[in-house]
Symmetry: C2
Subunit: 425 residues, 2 copies
Amino acid sequence: MSSLPAQRKHLTIGLFGFGCVGYGLYDVLQKTPGFPAHIKKVCVRDPHKARPVDASFFTYDASELLDDPEINVIVELIDDAEAAYPIITRALRNGKAVVSANKKVLATHFAEFHALQQEVGVPLLYEAAACASMPIIRNLEEYYNNDLLESIQGIVNGSTNYILTKTATEGVSYDEALCDAQAKGYAESDPTLDTGGFDAKYKLLLLLAHAFGHVAAPDDILTLGIDGLGALELNYAREKGLKIKLVAEAFRRADGRIAAYVTPRFVAPHERLFGVDDVFNGVVTRTRFADEQFFVGRGAGAHPTASAVISDISALSYDYRYEYRKIQQDGATALSDDFEVTILLRYRQDDAMALRRYFRSVTETYGNADEGYTIGTLSFERLRLLSEDSLPKSIVLFGVDAETEALAVDTTETTSEQSVPAFVI
Amino acid sequence: MSSLPAQRKHLTIGLFGFGCVGYGLYDVLQKTPGFPAHIKKVCVRDPHKARPVDASFFTYDASELLDDPEINVIVELIDDAEAAYPIITRALRNGKAVVSANKKVLATHFAEFHALQQEVGVPLLYEAAACASMPIIRNLEEYYNNDLLESIQGIVNGSTNYILTKTATEGVSYDEALCDAQAKGYAESDPTLDTGGFDAKYKLLLLLAHAFGHVAAPDDILTLGIDGLGALELNYAREKGLKIKLVAEAFRRADGRIAAYVTPRFVAPHERLFGVDDVFNGVVTRTRFADEQFFVGRGAGAHPTASAVISDISALSYDYRYEYRKIQQDGATALSDDFEVTILLRYRQDDAMALRRYFRSVTETYGNADEGYTIGTLSFERLRLLSEDSLPKSIVLFGVDAETEALAVDTTETTSEQSVPAFVI
């Protein structure tokens, strides 16, 4: 620091994709004089689509960007994980930094991209892939040290949160809320990626790596979607003053192993996530040093996502890169199934006996002529088996058994309340 | 980016102050192997105080740190703004980067420190000064462009929030809550810096510079504390289901000028800040591109503050520095008093007539034998005059007149609700 700090690099961008986010990025950069980056060329797939920018700005040949020595940053904003994979790897191998918002390709090839960055010494940033405009990955990288993060818990998918908010506040059915979300453009015509919890799982995989240094395979993570939610459990939530949210969470067990899952979950009014509605995302982290932090922001949309991409581009101009320090420190983290959870399980009356056997203990049951539910406790291992049972059902998590969880919490530190994760009833 | 990114610098730190935060920093660095920084020496004032670290680690001579060519970062964590000033200026002039958590010295010398950084080309970072562990300054710097930020609104002082939470949830008087806060160490024996709103004002000044590029003098900002709050207005809030919070806020008017103030404010359940209780801080930003973002974190305390300091140190290892782009783009921003606000004004019954003349219009009045209140609208200019009136009184803001505020909001963009700032009733 005794000499002048290094000047910021000027970045010459090759952009893949010119959909909403791509155009948003173009728009924001146009409106930001002095920002040390400009887009040189955009690679798109369809040469015939009308676009609001001069045709000479576009190419249909990826090599024109990937082999251009003047381009030092590739921004990858296409929707197709399979097409994104060779773009990212070729760009890194060609010495070009990469910014991507593609959670699926990043999550499924995490270990490979991590190794490739180490090998070629070129950064890959992806803040926009985790929760759009919320700076959650940067925070995990810069604030939290490996052994100090206790838990992370978030609503990380905007479409499902919109649907769930609508069922909670307007008392409509799940199907009506889904139709409305589709009409408003918040959900795809095939909404399974969102409603099945897969999008949330990919994001959780990214957070897991940066939060705990654990690189998990997508299949490792128990993922329950909201597409099976029915009237009984929605009514239950309403009557008890709870909300059902699709929550991705992970926490460190006392033995150092990591618990991680995506499930619909009852959220009580005193919990931070209770107020995260509509298409907003929210993430709560608990650490030994910073205690609880809570971030809320729009979890989707062209401009919020473009904002995160710009933040990554800005960071590249300082040669910023993820350190992945937690992965390096702690290669041996493993996932844990060895804890207990309390759930509400809803089923057809005929299946009640067959499904109740999964529980270790039961605190409440209800039945009408057609359907019923059981509230009770079971091991997380049994929950996996239950989720694979082919009988029709719906599962909503209350929380992790407080005794199990208590082991993982160091109560000698500053935190006074331990609300995450714990029973909400 | 075609060559390897620059390696992170190793930082050799000279630390001023070894109170809670200083020791917290030492502790966290000790526990973080691989972090590219170490403390070489600590300058403290009192040579006789017992300390948990070897005496050779300490010095009582500032020059030993400031003139040591090996030390490239000065971390200033002393409580005394006057003593901090020469440390920061000498360090910068000697080519050493500075990290400070001292909001008062930073806010009162902002323009000078800004000019000095430009002159000597050495960075001064101060994330910990704004809201302890919340990364709010970094976000304002990296995500938001000058013309895109619409408003910022926050609970930025933990002690007052603790006091106000206690009055709201336990129904105790202001004085009882203050005593409890003092007993718990959340408030000083002379609590005026917090309860008078001064601490919040210093933080708002930092946020104003990074949010809107406006460098204001402390005296420019209307600052109403919570130390005059009485039973009438606390009861009013309780009965209406509102909370009173000490809120710092700023928003851009349609003419480009900035409105900024610190006041007690009624907050309704649908507002983000409603759920920010106890010693937590919360900040809501509204921007054209990222829409609403909301950050919550511990606003005070040794470890949360040390976390923010560490984040700054980490950033220095990448040669990060604040760009102050908004100040450079927009030197001509000015503060605006030209808008209307709605307030509750509580007074002694005898002063009712004398004080009511400040209002342009009145919507509600109440009186008992001793006291009364008026709810009504007045210009912000008149509010300044009212605040200077020597008659005993208490003022709680409802919000900015919606018509005034509507002018400042670009409704063509993505935002659907405009809840900040606006009437809460």
